[in-house]
Structures are given as C-alpha cells and as structure tokens.
Amino acid sequence: MQTGAQATGGRNRAAGADLWNRELLGHAARDSFRKLNPRWMLHNPVMFVVEVCSALTTVDALRHLFAGNLAQFNFVGQISAWLWLTVLFANFAEAMAEGRGQAQADALRRSRTEVTAKKVVASGIQQVPGASLVKGDIVLVEAGDVIPGDGEVIAGIAAVDESAITGESAPVVREAGGDRCAVTGGTLVISDQIRVRITAGRGESFLDRMISLIEGATRQKTPNEIALAILLAGLTLIFLVVVVTLAPFARYSHATVSVTVLIALLVCLVPTTIGGLLSAIGISGMNRLLQHNVVALSGRAIEAAGDVNVIMLDKTGTLTLGNRQAVEFRPLPGVAMEELATIALLSSLSDDTPEGRSIVALARGTHGAAADPAGAEFVPFTAQTRMSGINRGAELVRKGAGDAVAEFVRSQGGEIPGELEGIIAGIARSGGTPLVVAVNDRCLGVIHLKDVVKTGIRERLASLRRAGIRTVMITGDNPLTAETIAREVGVDDFLAQATPERKMEYILSQKREGYLVAMVGDGTNDAPALAHADVAVAMNTGTMAAREAGNMIDLDSNPQKLMDIVETGKQILITRGALTTFSVANDVAKYFAILPAMFVVVYPGLQALNIMHLTSPETAILSAIIFNALIIPLLIPLALRGVTYRPVGAATLLRNNLLVYGLGGLILPFVGIKLIDLVVTALHLVQTTVR
C-alpha cells in the first residue's frame, strides 16, 4: 500500500508496508471492542452520539422481539447492528493507526533495559542502577556498556552504536566538546571510553519521550484538529436539533415515524465519516513522520510544518555536497595545461581531503596526467601557511589561497603575473574557490574549486516555490559567492556570512512580517535560532542544546528531510479537510434516501424526492445506514496513508480536492446507496411494503 510520499521512508518502510498485517489486524479488532467503553468514547462526541443511538435502537429491537413483533424486530435489529458496526469501524480505524506506532514503541522499550551505571563519585567509580541517576550525575561508559541516560560527553571520544533509536547500524563518533557531544540513553558504546554528564532524569529521557509520543499517551490534539472537532461537534448538535424537532413536525403532519427511523436519520446526518477517522489521521500522520525517521516532539510542530512559508536551509550538506570539487584548471599565459595538471596532481597526491581527491580525479581523468611522488615529502595544510603541497628535493610544490601562494612565490624570488588577479576574481565571482598552484618561484595557474549542487535539489526547491514556500540559504560564504550559488541552486533568498546572531535576527524579522519559519540545525550555535523558529528540526547528531531547542528531531541527521516534514504536515491537513468535505457532502444523498421514506405515506407526492428509486422506505433507510457504516472501513487506507500531496499552488490543489472529495462526496453516495438498495432488495433483508 506504500505510495508516493512514503517512498522516501527508508529502512523503516518494511514496518509500515504491511498495512494489513495479520497480527496488527487482530490486535486492532480486539481493541475496537475495548474502545466501546463509553468513557473512552466521550473524547469523540460524534461517535459517542452514534454509540448512544446504537444502544437505544438495541433496546427498541429487543422490545419488538419480546412483543413478538418479528417483522419490526428484523428491521430495527438490522439497523441496530449496522449502527454498532459504524462505531466499531471507527474504533478499528483508530486502533489500526495506534497499532502501527505500537510496534516501533515496543522495539524502543526493549532497548530501555535496566543497566548498571558506573557513577563517578569523589571516591572513584561506584556501581549504581541506571534508574537512580539524576540530572548532573557523571558516569563512566566503556566499550561494551550501554549508555545509562541522555547526556553530554565531557571527556573522551568513542564510537557509539545508535541503531536502537535510528535503525542505522553504522556506529557514530561521539566526543567531548563541539557539536557531537550528545549521547542518548539506551545506545551502546563500541570502542574506547567516555565520561558522560547526565542531562535528563528517569522518565524524561529522549527515549521515554519517544515511546510515550508513539504510544499516543501524551498525544495532544493539534490546533487544527481542535478547531475541526469544534466544527464537528457543532454540526452534530445542529443535526440533533434538526432530528428532535422533526418529531413534532411529523406528528403535526399526521405521519408516524418510529424512534429507530429518526435515529437512523440522525446517524446518517452527523459527520460519522470524518468523526470516525479524525484521530486515526492524526496518529498516522505522526507515524508517517516516524517512517521518515523524524520524531516530532509536539503535534503542534507537525501542523506548523504544513503552514511554514519560509524554510532556512544550510548550504553545505543540504543544498550542495559537503565538499568543494575541482572542476577546472586555469593555466597562466605561457604555462601548458599539461604542466599545470601534472603539478596540481603532484601537489594533491598525499592530500586526502575531499578537495585534494577531487583535484587528483580531475587531473587524472580529464587531463590524463601522471606523476611520480617518489621521494616527496608532504607539506600539510596549516592555518598559518594556508597552503599545502610537497617538497621533492629542491622542487617545492604549493597550492593554496591566492595571497598565501603569492607570498610564497615572492619569498622564492619570483614574480606574480598580472593576469593572476583577473583569473582569481573571475572564479570568485562565479561562486567558486580559487586555489593557486606554484612551483618554487613560478606561478603556474589556478584550480577552480566549486560547490557542487546536489542532484535534484533545484527541482525540489521549485516544487516548494509552487507550494508557496520561500527558501533561504544559510552560508558562511561572502555575499558574492553566496549570491552565485543561490542563483544556481534556485533559492529565493540567502543569508551570507551567517553568524548565530544573524540567523536569529533573520528569523525574527521574518516572523514579524507574519511568516512561519522552519529551520534545521545541529550545532550549539544554532540553538538560539532554533528556539525562535516555528518548526525547528534538530539533527540527532547535534548537541544537546540544539536538541533541546528543536521541536522535531531527525534521527538520520539528514537536513534535506525538512522538505519531507513540510509535505507530511500538509498531507495531514489536506486529509482532514478532504474527509470532512466528503462527509458533509454525503448528507445530501442521505436526505434524498431517508426523507421520502419517512413521509411518503402521508404525502405521496414526496415520492418525487426519491430520485434514486429505492425499493421501499425500509430498504431505503437500511441502505443509507449500511452505506454510512461501510464508508468508514473503505476510507481507512486513505486516512492512514494520507491524501496524495502534490506541490502545486493552493488554487489548483483546492480545485482538484474539491472536485474529488466535494463533488465526489456529493455523487458517490447516490450510487452507493442505490447499489446497496439493490442488494438489500435482492436478498430480501427486510419486508418491503409494496406500493
């Protein structure tokens, strides 16, 4: 059942793929009966009304049975059965949604086994149960130990297996200081040892929060869900009054209308379809985010993600590949391209930075250069020299920033050709980084290093723009370089020479204009900006400060996720709106089925309203009720999967959805009720009075 939006779900796809998993179904079926408890039903006023109606019709049916009125018992009994099924179907939808998250929660809980922590106390190391640790305690974790709680590495470096929470088997490095100091309880240290300062007490760790979120124990309703619930309660109340007042109108018109028929009308009118599926949509939305390996720390954040109209993206790693790549050699006049390529290759053979490797690849691949590094001595890059290279006997090969290499050449007694300045400026203007290559006192030329835009990113940004979302690139580059890359990538705006203050200032200025801002961050210096962003996604590899400031955590630490998150947020809202529209539109057909059935005896002319030509009043009412019940399980896959979202403008999106769910919701029940009526008639489910 996996489609579109979920295809990026990654390795957890397997867990979500089997929507109709047998075990899951059995569990959900049992749960849907357990949820019949009226106290549980009260949280959903629409379905609570249906449950009360089911109980009332059951009593009515039994009354007919004991009175020996079997024909009436047959009719009322069937209505009652279908009403109970309506409630059960709604419960089933919710149980299904919960069940899909439950599996993941169980896996997490298994990882939260009791561990013995090596607590660092004044007298040395003390063995204590992991549960007794409080915020601020310091523990020693050695290879093979499970980290007893969330915390920060304060000393040491270690490889940590975090597969318990991320599903990723490759270990990650955690070290004191910097942006990779956060560790999560329940993960396993594979090598070395670290000292960890515990930052979360029992029950409030990241793992605990994740489990409770997934299990829905702390699932708060999102703002739009609350607003929709109010509207649904209002509609239910209106229809309750409509049906209750219909009884006196009917009596005034000398029509006999039984309580069961009035109840049938009420249940058909109240928005049971969306009422039954509402919580399933919310729960499955959170599950879909989990399939993207994103944990939302509040439902509000998921919804805000749908509303976001400005997205701030880090240039490096998100929009461009993390590393600059050599794309071109620019020899100075009088220097052969082969010579430059050969020297560039020579200078980089021992340089295993990504830039160095890309120079080797370019020299060998495009220019067929070859060099023998025998006897060469590597000169590594330092912040002082801002150059690297090799010394091979008297031959000193250098590559580095323009002014640094120029200084070197002059110190060797060489001259700087006038053309060099122009080449360097040209490369910088185009958004690239120039590396000047020199041998002793001779300047040979320039290597053009360029940020390489990730494939597909342009299209992704264009689709965001169609959905009305502005993208902003954050970069430490100078404005000139930033502008070039911004144009190449296709972002709407950029923030060059970004500092934590400038990022926060930018977010605040956008918010003052009414924009909702989403941002991804990992470092501690991102924390102030994250705290102000409406949707703040912290990388799981990030610091504890960043994770505390964020309202979502990306377990894969893939900043491009932000776009998936936005789309999931929109999908949840669209699904709710679509099913509500569908549910309300359905009512029109149900009126045309039930009203003539109710009053055709007193006003035969009302038969004209029976435009579906249903067989008899009894089959009409039963068919409407059956349709009303069956539509819920039929829409469960849609509720769990979400309405397909395409990044197009709001007007187009609305027109398409209105056509499908509005017009479809108007027409479909006419067809459905007619078909059910044919079946009901063919099976002689109820006695049909012949007119």
Partner: protein, 567 residues
C-alpha cells in the same frame, strides 16, 4: 416567465453593482474621517453631539467595550420603548384615549423595533398613541445604525493587525446617523414625492365612488415615512398593505426606486468591506456570491408564480400566472423580485402577499431568511453573517490546501470556528425549536389558520422572519395571540444579539493576529472558485438544516398541488 421579466432582474442587479461603488466610497470617506461635501453642515452637529453627551470619539475600544456600548444603547432603547408602550394610557399625546396595550404585544413591539425587525402584531392606528408611534419612528431611524457599527467593528478585526482596538462605537454611530441615515432619508423622500407619493398633513379625503358608496382615502407624510422605512430596511410601512398600496408605490418606477433604496446601503457595505480590507476584489467576490444566490432563487420564485396553480388554471379565470394576492400593476416578475429582495435584504417590506404565493414561490422568501439573510442582508448585519459563513467555508476547504486556513490573511483557528459556529447555530435552533413547540402545543396550534403543510410554512415563516429580524409576515397566522407575540419576541431577540457577541469576540481575536503574507500557497478568496464555494456552503448548510422541515411544509404542498390537492 417573460424575457422582460428576467431582464428586469438582471438589469436591477447590474444597477445595484454600479451603485455599490459610489455608496461604498462615500461610506469609506465618512468612516475614515475624510472630507465629504456635507462636512460644513454636519461637522458642527457632530461636535455638538459629542460635547453634549460627553463622548470622546477618539478613544478606540476593545471588542468587549464596543459590544457593551452597543448592547447598552439597544437596551436603553428597549427599556424606553417598552415603558412608553406599557404606560401610554397615562402618558400625554393620547387624544384617542387608547387603552393599555397587552403585555406580550408590548414586549413583542418593543423588541421588534429595537432589533430592526419591525414585525407588527398590532394595528397601529387602533392600538398605539401618537407618542408611541413617534418613538417607533425614531427607532426605525436608530436600529439599523447598530448594524453598521457591528459591521464596522467586525471588518476592522480583519483589516487591522496586532491590536485589541476595533474603533469607537459612539463615533461610528453618530457618523452613520448624520452622514448616511438623515441625508439618505431626505433624498429618498424628494424622489418618492417626484414619483407621485403624497407628502402632506391633510385630513383623510372622503370620496364617493361610482357605485354610490363612500370611501375614505388615507394620506399623510407617506413619502417620508416610506423613504425612512425602505432606506433603513425596516419595512414597517405607513399603510397596512405596505408597498402594494398605490400611495406607497404609485407605479412600478416608484416600487423599483424603493427596491434600490433598500438595497443601497447593504450593497454599499459589500463594497465598503473591500475598501476596508484594502482589496476591492474581496468585496466583489462577496457581491458575486450574493448575486449568484439571489438571481437563481428569484428566478425560481418568478417561475413558480408565472407557472401558477394548475388547479386554478383549468378554470381559465385568468392567465396561467398566479395573480392571487398580487397588485396587477406589478405582476409576478416585479412582485417576485420585490418579495425575494426584501427577504434577502433583512427588510420585510412586501409588494404581494406571501401567503397567496404558490408553495415554491413562498419557499424562496422562507429560504432566504433561513440561510440567515446573508444575501446582502440589512445594514451591515447580512454582510457580517456572510463573513461568518466565509470563515466556515474557508476553514473547511482551506484545510484542503494543506495549511491552517486563512481568510484575508488571518488564520482561522479554534476560537474563530467556535464563534462562527455559535453565531450560525443559535438562529437555526431558535427557528426549529420554537416552530416545533408551536405545532406541539395548543396555544400554538390554535392560531394556525390553515392546517396541513401550509400551516407549517406559516409557523416556520413567522420564526424565520423574527430570527432574521426581517419583519415580513406570511400571513394566515394569528401573530397577536399571546403565544406568538411572546415567542416571536424572543426569536427576534435571540436572532440578533446572540450573533453579535460571538462575532465581535471573533473580530477581537482576529484583530490581535498578525496578517499572514500572501503566497502561492494561500487559498485565493477573490476568484470564481471561492464564490462557488461560499455560495455552496450557504445553500448546503441552510438546506441540510431546514430540508426536513421544508419537505413537510412547502415541498409537500407543492407536490400535493401538482397532484390536484390544495390546503
């Protein structure tokens, strides 16, 4: 149906659209405090009023203060009027020594004239003293102004941002009275006199007819009274026959002019709305929605009336058209336009008897009122009702664009939904519950003249008219009976004020919100799709709520009529 009959409707709507522009602009100038050509005369009057009453017109108000001022003024008007009616027998200016008015009639009348309903359960000349009648005229002037103030406060909630303040009630009230009500009534009077309505203080004329009988011709300051009641969408006419009387509307031109007069301020409000939110397309979208509903509804009514009653048609008494209860000078086309128009605009003046319409012909005015009189509506109130529907429509459909729904840049969230649902369900509840009680209880049943589906229509109409503050009557119902005098009084009360507070609260909440900038992800609320969506919401919500009741009333009657049975 004839081509000129249909054209008349279309031309009327086009003329109204053109008139909306200058009217809306003028009102915008007035409320923005910009110069108008009337300033030399009116500004001193305005200053005098503020000084005399000790008001500070520059002090902006929170929604609660604004609402309190509005309610306080209405309550004061009610108390004075109620006391005047109850005590008229001991008060001066009662030369005819008219006796004490029954309690429930007094209650009904007081609520009626304060709430701009002008539902009349009494015969004026035989029940009320001159003093009472004079005060009723004052109320006819004042009650619609409250609606404009309400409208201004609500629209300011949409047009302002990051503020708690929604304007100053007293300033809005005084400026509407001086710049709009009074000049409008004067111009209206002059034109009506020009079109042949009498304006005099002469005694009634007694004439002898050809058959030798003598007849008393009533007259008086008819032009000015008519002008006030039509401009203010009051509908409480000078003559019992209302606009069907030859002195109130001597000819079709006069009747059409009155129709223009009644529509003028409501359409002006629609355009003013566009100006206030600084996007005239928003105003036009609302105008288009209203026209899109009004034209087909009126055509259905016209069609039903022109097709007439098949049972009568077979006797070849007249043409096929249903002329019962209609003025021959106007015929079905203009009568349909007028009666549909005066129920769309919460107005209540009539040019033909609704009770005598075909069932479908009677259904249209009923439906106009049941949907909340949001098709233009009376001064400002209908426009606000339409905005409440727009909030709901945008909320429902807006979710489908994948964002928290926005209208005019303001996010529609739980509080706004709660308030607009509240404003929408209370009127429906009142109509349905009072009508249900009336057909259950003896005092209610006893006053119904025509049992069967027609009687149900009469009862539904009475409460729909009361709740909608329309004031027109279907007829056939003894509305002066204590049961109806009391319950319709409550209906008028519940139909107006429970809608004010939630929507003012909504405006307060909207005013505090920051406007969301428009982008490609914003659902546009000025296009054809929004117009269709909004009209669809109004019709579907109205139909879903009232379909069962209407099925047992007008629909059952129409089908029975086609089958050869009358009630």
């Amino acid at each position: 149906m004839t081509v000129p009959g249909v054209l008349q409707l279309l031309v009327f709507m086009a003329v109204m659209a053109l008139l909306a522009i200058p009217m809306g602009r003028y009102m915008h100038r007035v409320f923005e405090g910009r110069r108008t050509f009337l300033d030399p005369v009116l500004v001193p009057c305005e200053r005098f009023i503020y000084r005399f009453c000790g008001m500070d017109p520059t002090a902006e108000m929170h929604w609660t203060t604004y609402g309190l001022a509005l309610l306080a003024l209405n309550l004061a008007g009610f108390v004075v009027l109620f006391a005047l009616i109850l005590l008229q027998q001991v008060l001066p200016l009662n030369p005819a020594h008219l006796p004490k008015v029954p309690f429930w009639v007094a209650w009904n009348t007081a609520v009626s004239f304060v709430s701009n309903t002008n539902w009349q359960v009494y015969g004026g000349e035989s029940t009320l003293s001159y003093l009472t009648q004079m005060w009723l005229t004052v109320q006819q002037f004042l009650s619609p102004i409250t609606g404009i103030c309400f409208f201004l406060a609500v629209v300011r909630g949409f047009s302002r941002q990051n503020t708690d303040l929604l304007g100053n009630f007293w300033r809005d009230f005084v400026r509407t009275l001086l710049w709009i009500s009074i000049p409008g009534a004067i111009v209206g009077t002059v034109v009506l006199v020009g079109l042949g309505s009498p304006q005099n203080f002469s005694p009634y004329t007694v004439v002898h007819t050809l058959q030798g009988a003598s007849q008393t011709i009533a007259q008086g300051p008819i032009a000015s009274m008519t002008s006030i009641m039509q401009l203010g969408d009051n509908g409480g006419g000078y003559m019992n026959m209302n606009a069907a009387h030859p002195f109130e509307a001597p000819n079709a031109a006069s009747l059409l002019f009155q129709l223009l007069l009644g529509f003028l301020i409501p359409v002006g409000c629609v355009y003013l709305f566009g100006l206030m939110v600084k996007d005239r397309r928003q105003g036009w979208a609302i105008y288009a929605t209203m026209a899109l509903m009004f034209i087909p509804l009126t055509l259905i009514m016209y069609h039903a009336e022109a097709a007439g009653n098949p049972i009568l048609a077979q006797f070849h008494l007249s043409g096929t058209a249903n002329m019962e209860g209609k003025e021959v000078r106007f015929g079905p086309a203009l009568s349909s336009l007028f009666n549909s128009g005066t129920t769309a605009v919460s107005w209540g003046s009539i040019a033909a008897a609704n009770d005598s319409m075909t069932p479908i012909g009677g259904l249209i005015p009923l439906f106009n009122m049941m949907t909340g009189e949001v098709i233009f509506g009376s001064w400002g109130v209908g426009m606000v009702g339409m905005l409440a529907y727009a909030v709901l429509a945008v909320f429902l459909a807006g979710l489908m664009v994948g964002r928290t729904p926005e209208y005019l840049g303001k996010k529609i969230q739980a509080f706004e939904v709660k308030m607009s649902v509240l404003a929408m369900i209370v009127p429906s509840f009142v109509i349905l519950i009072f009508a249900a009680l009336s057909v259950m209880l003896k005092p209610g049943l006893g006053a119904i003249a025509n049992p069967g589906p027609h009687g149900l229509s009469e009862v539904l109409y009475a409460f729909a008219s009361g709740v909608g503050n329309n004031g027109s009557a279907f007829g056939g119902l003894n509305s002066a009976a204590p049961w109806y005098a009391a319950t319709v009084g409550f209906a008028m009360l519940f139909g107006r004020y429970p809608m004010y507070l939630p929507l003012l609260a909504m405006a307060g909440s909207l005013g505090r919100k920051q406007r969301v900038p428009v982008s490609a992800g914003t659902f546009p609320t000025h296009g054809a799709m929004f117009v269709g969506l909004l009209a669809g919401t109004v019709v579907i919500v109205g139909a879903l709520v009232f379909f069962p009741a209407l099925a047992l009333g007008p629909l059952a009657e129409q089908f029975a009529m086609q089958a050869g049975r009358l009630f």
